[in-house]
Symmetry: C2
């Protein structure tokens, strides 16, 4: 019998909105987003709030209840907002995923109902995973509260939790129903979180858009001083570039390459080595600095451009070296270099690493020289001690 | 700031092959399927075998090892084939999903490596779920061994496990890399499993293709007598219709309707009420008989066509009534009718039930009359006792 070739296309579509005061009753954004879904009846929404956000915004749950009352014709809360722990630790706790599944079951949340997750990238990842596997996907509204989540992780198509001591070991590709970026949440971030998200913008600028990098270079002092309009521009442009990269490429990463992962092979490993004491964005800043020094040593990135990049990272406030970069295993090898192997395995296929040819122009390589990595780490240590 | 509308299309493509003697070393099908994946290096494959299949095919693991040796240039076994329990029970045991994740971790199975699952629909569902969430999806080759899996569940885009006492509560939409249907596996099925898969073919014929139903009507005695060519035709045509329905409609079920679910609202519930003592296909046969009687009572399906349908189901060997259909809860309501609510919830959105206008022509309704369901159950009981 003849083989049957199955083939079909699926169209995915979701809006990313930018607002402030999302839960002020007169702000109709959320109500409109829900109201345009084609549902005939009043929608059920289940809110999950990152405990860090709940702490800084003690009135948030009350505000959501009031908002729901005013917009009762459009949606209803199927339960009181649930506060869950955020931060990377929440991705290590399978009980949280189960707890969300239990809520989906208990409250009758179906594929046309909503989970609205308010929090940082880790909480959004964890809740997103739980939502994606419940009934093969209940609708997810992401309300990212950190710079990193608003400009990068929260606007993309992935979710995940950690398992077997590997970051993002379990997860799915599952576009959200909508993303609502509220800049008010950024005001209560501590300085590290404010800063950490900037590195993904620097990343995308470095590999794709020299003009955007130049803007970040000019804005660097303002960003360090927590200027909101500078940050809003940075988030918007970074989110835009991230979204267009996803749409224009290989959204569900069926191929080998993920060119937006500049600085990430070492960042993932560094997060693990430091037991996530270093935030993802901080690790990416160090990872980019390392790969820029490496590229320079490998004869790719010119000296003057390397210096500009390192200066921008420092002006924004990133440390460029931590002792864990130089950690060695029992046989004297750099622990960091093992990250290359793990990075390839997670991507699948060939190792693909993004390096810089010059500012605004990334280039993929498929081999990394461990000796040169070691040398780059040494340079970075000296640079951060200002001895070079 | 202006909202960004993200939009992209993803193309999914996979072949469904029909063969016999899949692991005879001279059968190059599997080797070719793997060899055409664009990988540069030798692929890693991890086999998981349904314990029921392993029992009936004690030489299977050895055959797979030999096959891998002969085709060593194309792929390598990253571990010995793993035998796991099959049947609906495997979908109730989260430890099995974890065990597969552990193997993915231990054997370094990446997104360009393969899990090849050999078994019935339940095992394929469970393994498929584990594969889909590991590294956001390692490649899955399905080798269905039952009629039901070869003509329906194994060729589609879904996977799942049970949770919170709900069938398929957790799962994803994840097209396989390839499906390899080997008719040799059908020879060792017991009569119930041989028969059970026929109901999905009857289902698709009834709602979409009167000519196919007529062919099944003619072949019914041969099918009951385990005639292989009759079965191969039935599987091929049913798989083809199932695949074309998926491709032509709403593959990831973002809308409300799943028109191929004829007979399924009660079938799902009946499986649960009988604690899965009734096979899915047997439950679907009863569910179709019930919905046909209902449609007839509701003035839709003519008497003569109802009689032909019930006769075909009986000739193939299906019981059309089980006492659990009439089970009542503590307040005297039919337990089965609760299934309507659960069915709607799992689908999301409005209740959508497929009924028959006539043979080959399904029609969707959005309301079901519980009194008429009760009456239909009574008729079915009498019919099966041959008192009507």
């Amino acid at each position: 019998m003849q083989s049957i070739l199955q083939q079909f296309q699926v169209t995915f579509r979701y809006p990313v909105h930018f607002t402030s005061g999302l839960f002020r009753t007169e702000n109709t954004l959320l109500s409109n987003v829900l109201g345009q879904d084609g549902n005939q009846s009043v929608r059920k929404v289940f809110f999950i709030i990152d405990s860090g956000v709940a702490q800084h915004h003690p009135g948030l749950a009350r505000q959501i209840r009031e908002y729901a009352q005013v917009h009762a014709g459009v949606f209803t809360l199927c339960a009181d907002p649930l506060v869950m722990p955020g931060g990377e630790a929440c991705k290590n706790d399978p009980a949280l995923v189960t707890q969300i599944g239990q809520a989906v079951n208990d409250y009758g949340i179906d594929r046309h109902s909503y989970i609205a997750a308010i929090g940082g990238g880790a909480l959004l990842d964890m809740v997103g995973f739980a939502a994606a596997i419940s009934h093969r996907g209940v609708r997810l509204i992401r309300i990212p509260t950190t710079v990193l989540a608003q400009n990068d992780s929260g606007v993309g198509v992935k979710n995940s939790v950690n398992a077997f001591n590997k970051k993002n070991f379990l997860g799915t590709f599952a576009p959200p129903f909508a993303v609502l970026n509220d800049s008010d949440f950024l005001t209560t971030l501590d300085d590290r979180d404010w800063r950490a998200g900037i590195s993904e913008a620097i990343k995308v600028a470095l590999i794709k858009d020299a003009a955007f990098f130049d803007r970040i270079r000019q804005d660097a002092p303002a960003l360090a001083a927590r200027d909101m309009p500078a940050m809003q521009y940075l988030i918007y442009r970074c989110a835009q570039m991230h979204l267009s990269h996803i749409a224009g490429g290989d959204p569900f990463e069926m191929g080998s390459s993920r060119p937006l992962d500049f600085g990430h092979w070492s960042a993932h490993k560094l997060e693990a080595i430091t037991h996530y004491q270093i935030r993802h964005g901080e690790a990416v800043a160090i990872g980019m600095a390392l790969d820029c020094v490496y590229a320079n040593l490998a004869g790719m990135l010119p000296n003057d451009e390397l210096q500009v990049i390192l200066q921008v990272l420092e002006t924004v406030g990133f440390p460029l070296y931590v002792p864990e970069l130089s950690a060695r295993n029992t046989v004297g090898e750099l622990v960091l270099v093992q990250g290359l192997h793990e990075f390839r395995e997670h991507l699948g296929g060939r190792l693909t690493i993004m390096l810089l040819e010059r500012i605004g122009k990334g280039v993929e390589v498929h081999e990394v020289n461990p000796q040169l990595v070691e040398q780059a780490i040494g340079r970075l240590e000296k640079y951060s001690l200002k001895v070079v």
